[in-house]
Amino acid sequence: MTSLPKTTAKKLGLVVDLDICVGCHACAVNCKEWNAGAKSAPLTDYDPYGKKPDGVWFNRVHTYETTDEAGHGQTVHFPRSCLHCEDAPCVTVCPTGASYKREEDGIVLVNEDICIGCKLCSWACPYGAREYDENEGVMKKCTLCVDKIYNENLPEESRVPACVSTCPAGARSFGDLGDPDSEVSKLVAARGGYDLMPEQGTKPVNKYLPPRPRQDGRGGDKAPRMLEHADDSTEGAGLIARWVDKILS
């Protein structure tokens, strides 16, 4: 059913810390690894060993550089996956009911058995979170690792999304963002977590934590950012140094 639930009991989602992310792409790779054998399997690759490898991924890591008016730059690594939006436009446009948002935990999923592959949901998502599988003829997307987080065959500590458990820097957290007392909600409150493209009206559940302000590295007792140019004057130099300078110049 593509009508959105009015509320969901939980709002499970991710918090991505842009201050910590080092852009190693481990989350993207482990996402691919888990999901290639899970609910959405196969996670098709086209031409995997050829010249133009391409395929379906649920998580992509971009790198951006920001430059402020003073010309100071900052590099930010930016993982991008489904935000499990509360007002998910990808769900309401779906003509078949294949796309849906779960009432119990807010996870947005695709029922691949009834998807007709019209691709409209991928047009409706502002975040590029849905990728079409050309071989299967259906749409695929991040499942929030629904088959891992509830998997009782796994030890309790492993019941978190693959991208979260694999991140070597600890930049990703998982939890209930609908519960103000959850760890993730506290983290968001403490660090000023924000929505991507709030103007699109999708009300994303996932939040991003902004990079902390950088020290600009000039002045003070910080190491200089670049070598100062060589000093031409011999003023204040010792006798031998002045003598060598005379010979050489």
């Binding site: 009508s3 991928s122 975040y127 991507l196």
Partner: protein
């Protein structure tokens, strides 16, 4: 957005077919619809062929065409679903209307009612098609009222030009004259709507930016320095289509000249020829109008897709849209 041939063909063909149906209903209401079997079979046949051909081609671009019937179930929220339903339901009045008009299976008074209901369903279907595009906030070039106006006007405009030609071929002078007038008026409205559409595209303020997409806007200018993948992917193929500005301008001119000015001129001159006892020359000019209109509207529809930029491109280097 990637301009898929199947979708361009679908929207132009079914637009023309529904346009023809709308004017056939109007002609019936005006008491001007010629009740001649050969003519009837030809015009209604052509209109249905355009509609059905368009709908079929739109299912070709589905990943799973065999499940297409499922697309009718979510009419509560989905414009694509509503379009499918409107199209299927519309076949009932339109089909009965055709039977009455061609084979006189019932009184023409009933035919008029069926024709008008069918025309309303045709308009409703065009409206649903337009709303599929206009409802997408992610694509500001579509998310505006000129999109809806364009779909509601261009299909009927194209249908009117085709009907004006066919009526002239069969020598139904009075109806042909009326259709020429209607077609001329529709062309002027169509040109106005498209002019406003393009003006809107050029002047509308940005909805989203690379800054709001990443949330890094407060740090200054945001540029992508590392892509997640160094080959193409689905997102870039489907939504990252870019058209050179120079080609856009050229195609825009082709759309305007062939889609509007040329058919309008042909209609006017054809009217003079037909009234002046030169039917062959008039019909030839109307044929040119039909062909020009098809090329022009196809160019217009291609641009409609090619010029539209999607929010996801903001993650891949686009600055604002």
């Amino acid at each position: 957005m990637h301009p898929a041939k199947s979708v361009i063909f679908f929207t132009t063909a079914s637009g023309a077919g529904y346009g023809m149906m709308i004017w056939l209903g109007v002609l019936a209401a005006l008491g001007m619809l010629p009740q001649e079997t050969v003519f009837g079979i030809l015009v209604f046949g052509l209109a249905f062929a355009l509609i059905v051909g368009g709908l079929l081609s739109s299912t070709f671009h589905l990943g799973r065409p065999e499940r297409a019937w499922r697309a009718m179930s979510q009419w509560r929220t989905s414009w694509l679903s509503r379009e499918g339903l409107a199209a299927i339901i519309g076949f009932v009045p339109l089909g009965l209307f055709a039977l009455v008009a061609i084979f006189s299976i019932a009184d023409m008074a009933l035919g008029v009612v069926l024709g008008l209901v069918g025309a309303a369903m045709a308009l409703l279907t065009l409206y649903c098609t337009a709303m599929i595009y206009a409802s997408l906030k992610t694509i500001p070039a579509w998310h505006n009222r000129w999109t809806v106006a364009g779909y509601l006007v261009l299909g009927p405009m194209n249908g009117a030009v085709i009907l004006a030609f066919l009526l002239a071929v069969f020598g139904f002078e009075e109806a042909a004259g009326t259709m020429r007038t209607i077609a001329g008026v529709m062309i002027i409205i169509g040109l106005t709507v498209k002019t406003f559409y393009w003006k809107h595209l050029a002047t509308a303020p940005a909805t989203s930016t690379a800054g709001s997409a990443t949330g890094l806007g407060h740090l200054g200018k945001v540029e992508m320095t590392g892509s997640p993948h160094d080959q193409d992917n689905y997102l870039l193929r489907e939504m990252g289509f870019r058209i050179a500005r120079k080609h856009a301008r050229k195609l825009g001119r082709i759309a305007i000249v062939l889609g509007f000015w040329m058919p309008l001129a042909c209609l006017l001159v054809a009217g003079i020829f037909l009234d002046g006892g030169l039917p062959a020359a008039g019909i030839a000019l109307l044929f040119v109008a039909v062909i020009a209109c098809q090329i022009g509207i196809t160019a217009e529809r291609w641009l409609f897709f090619a010029e539209a930029r999607h929010a996801v491109t903001l993650y891949y280097g686009e600055k604002a849209l």
